[in-house]
């Protein structure tokens, strides 16, 4: 029945790198990575190895009781590095909690990344210093923030773009659909970057989106791309393409990066309760780092120097992370009552004074001042 429209999600994803490291040609994407030289490939490789190492070290710190929780990105390095390396400093990222590789690319220090997870602060960095908002834990909420920021950029006549990162599960939240509506209506320069890592905690993507994810945005009037999220080159290319559209008045673009969460949802999760046994192995063959390494190898670029230098950087970053984490000071008690408001607030000022007096009552030296 031809007039019944059924959704169709492109079965294949855009690729520039096959799982065995072959460089595929794509008339559509090649121009967007034409400037990528050997050293850029090496840099992407280095990035991915380092963020995987950050991830492993943070996981270890959590296991050792130094972090309350950690949401690993293992397996999603290409999706995050490829997209984040396409950004300019004047762009702005609104992410979820798993985008630690994106934060790394935005210049956030490893220690700052950990503050939230160690529980010393609700956010680890000043968003304005890095062009990246602090992670949103409320699923999907940040897609509206990104859209609003982008509307503002358009009003300002700036050619900056906002990027909203979110997961496959997030696509079910009303906020994400509303963000698509507003982005389309106001032609906001925003890139919706969905990492479809196949799972939302224990729920497979098929529960959230039986018809697939990339097919959703077009119905809202937003062009959509489905990319192999484990192919760092293809991700870089499509993100550049989408950002270019945004900067040149082309409005929003939706990207589905098909990837895989190789670890647990967080360190508190036990995926053996729900994940089919062979799934991990299947995806291990499509590992994003291995893939780029194979390409580098085939091009003769995977030199001992690169390997050593990468290793050194990963080691030093991990060491910095560990030392930074353990060295994070506990916040001062009275900061619990600080910064609720930007301006003085009678009620809170009183509560702070009372609590300061209360704390002082325990201190024989009569210490803490309000």
């Amino acid at each position: 029945m031809h007039t019944v429209h059924t959704g169709e999600t492109p079965a294949v994803s855009l690729q520039l790198l096959s799982p065995d490291g072959m460089r595929m040609r794509s008339a559509e994407l090649d121009p967007w990575v034409a400037d990528i030289e050997a050293e850029d490939l090496a840099a992407l490789y280095r990035d991915m190895v380092v963020v995987r190492r950050i991830d492993a070290e943070a996981t270890a710190l959590q296991r050792q009781g130094e972090l309350g929780l950690w949401p690993p990105l293992l397996g999603q390095e290409a999706a995050q590095i490829g997209s984040a390396r396409a950004l300019r400093t004047d762009d702005f990222v609104f992410s979820s909690y798993r985008e630690n590789a994106v934060a790394y690319c935005r210049g956030v220090s490893p220690t700052d990344i950990l503050r939230v997870w160690r529980g010393t602060a609700q956010s680890g960095w000043d968003p304005y210093s890095h062009g990246m908002a602090t992670p949103s834990i409320i699923i999907g909420a940040q897609t509206l923030h990104a859209t609003g920021w982008a509307m503002g950029a358009r009003f300002d006549g700036a050619d900056s773009a906002a990027v909203a990162y979110f997961g496959d599960g997030a696509t079910s939240e009303g906020d994400v659909s509303e963000a698509l509506v507003f982005a389309a209506s106001f032609q906001a320069p925003v890139v919706f970057f969905c990492q479809n890592n196949q799972w939302a905690i224990s729920e497979p993507v098929g529960l959230q989106a039986p018809a697939g994810i990339a097919g959703r945005a077009p119905g809202f009037g937003i062009p959509s791309l489905r990319v192999d999220g484990n192919d760092v080159l293809a991700v870089l290319a499509v993100t550049r393409l989408a950002l270019h559209r945004a900067r040149t008045g082309g409005g929003p673009t939706f990207i589905e990066a098909v990837t895989y969460r190789m670890g647990p949802h967080t360190t508190a999760d036990d995926p053996t309760r729900y994940r089919p046994a062979n799934e991990l192995e299947e995806w291990a063959e499509k590992d994003p780092i291995l893939r780029l390494r194979r390409l580098l190898d085939s091009l003769g670029l995977f030199t001992p120097e690169l390997e050593a230098e990468t290793q050194t950087l990963a080691d030093s970053t991990a060491a910095e992370l560990r030392a930074g984490c353990i060295g994070l000071p506990d916040p001062e008690p009275l900061t619990v009552l600080a910064n609720v408001y930007a301006t003085p607030h009678a009620g809170l000022d009183r509560q702070r004074a009372e609590y300061a007096a209360y704390l002082a009552s325990f201190d024989p030296t009569g210490g803490t001042d309000a």
């Binding site: 609700q122 968003p127 358009r154 507003f182 106001f186 408001y341 009678a346």
Partner: protein
Amino acid sequence: MTMITEQNSSAGAANGQAPVPLTETKTLTLAKAINAGLRRAMLDDPKVVLLGEDIGTLGGVFRVTSDLLAEFGPNRVIDTPLAESAIIGTAVGLAYRGYRPVCEIQFDGFIFPGFDQIVSQVARFHYRTQGAVRMPITIRVPFGGGIGAAEHHSESPEAYFTHTSGLRVVAVSNPQDAYGLIRQAIASDDPVLYFEPKRRYHVAGPVSPELGAPLESARVVAAGTDVTLLAYGALVSTATDAALAAADEGVSIEVIDLRSLSPVDYDTVEASVRKTGRLVVTHEAARSGGLGGEIIAEITERCFDHLEAAPVRVTGFDIPYPPAKLESHHLPDLDRMLDGVDRVLGRRR
């Protein structure tokens, strides 16, 4: 049956008059005073933008934003799609970029789809980022009943927001405050819920171009010595009438217009209760969990030894908003306020 409806409660700008800049004291309706305040804020600061449903071409269902689209254009007066979470959520993004968004929620009952963005995002970004990110967002909400409207059009949701740390909440009762407080709300670096007493949109009063008393302050409307009667929004005028009626019977009521619901100006309230020893709080919102209980608990703590009697509440019942033909039984009116005064004076039959 006279029912104030969207059209006939229009602020009257439909007649095509351009908004008049306020340079001297003028008589304006409450709705027009807000319009004048919005306009002043938009002229003063190019970062002030308005977002909401039907606020542009139509000028809002109450015409509060009349003529602003024509003056400031579609990048500053934004007719948004029909989605409250997105109205608030995109305002957050705009604030992130340095804007001062003013969101209109069309009616009180339609704020709840945007509740998550208000409570989990707007209210918390400053605390979350240790002060790095400010949310100078104003959320305008026509509130309260008494207009004979259908469900969801007459609610008083303010207590949900006064329980939400990180927000400021104000409710205006007259054109002058409406003008001064909308400007202060927009100028505030904190998010402000700004409640507009919709059944008083039409009432006119003098408005000077001053900012008036600070955002956090209450106002003694009528001095008195026997009982302190606290009100806000539309009920301030009922409370003032009640005070006049009580005066005839020899009871001197001090009426206070709270203006700021969060924080409450306890200095002013406390001074009054220390003097009168008796407190009545009135609001349209449900009694349980309403602002009345909070204020009574706080005042009891601060003024226990000065209280002559237990403070009394005259409020809406613990019911969903009732059908129009029953709302007069739900809303505090002059008689119920006087009954509350009688009770606090120990004169209850």
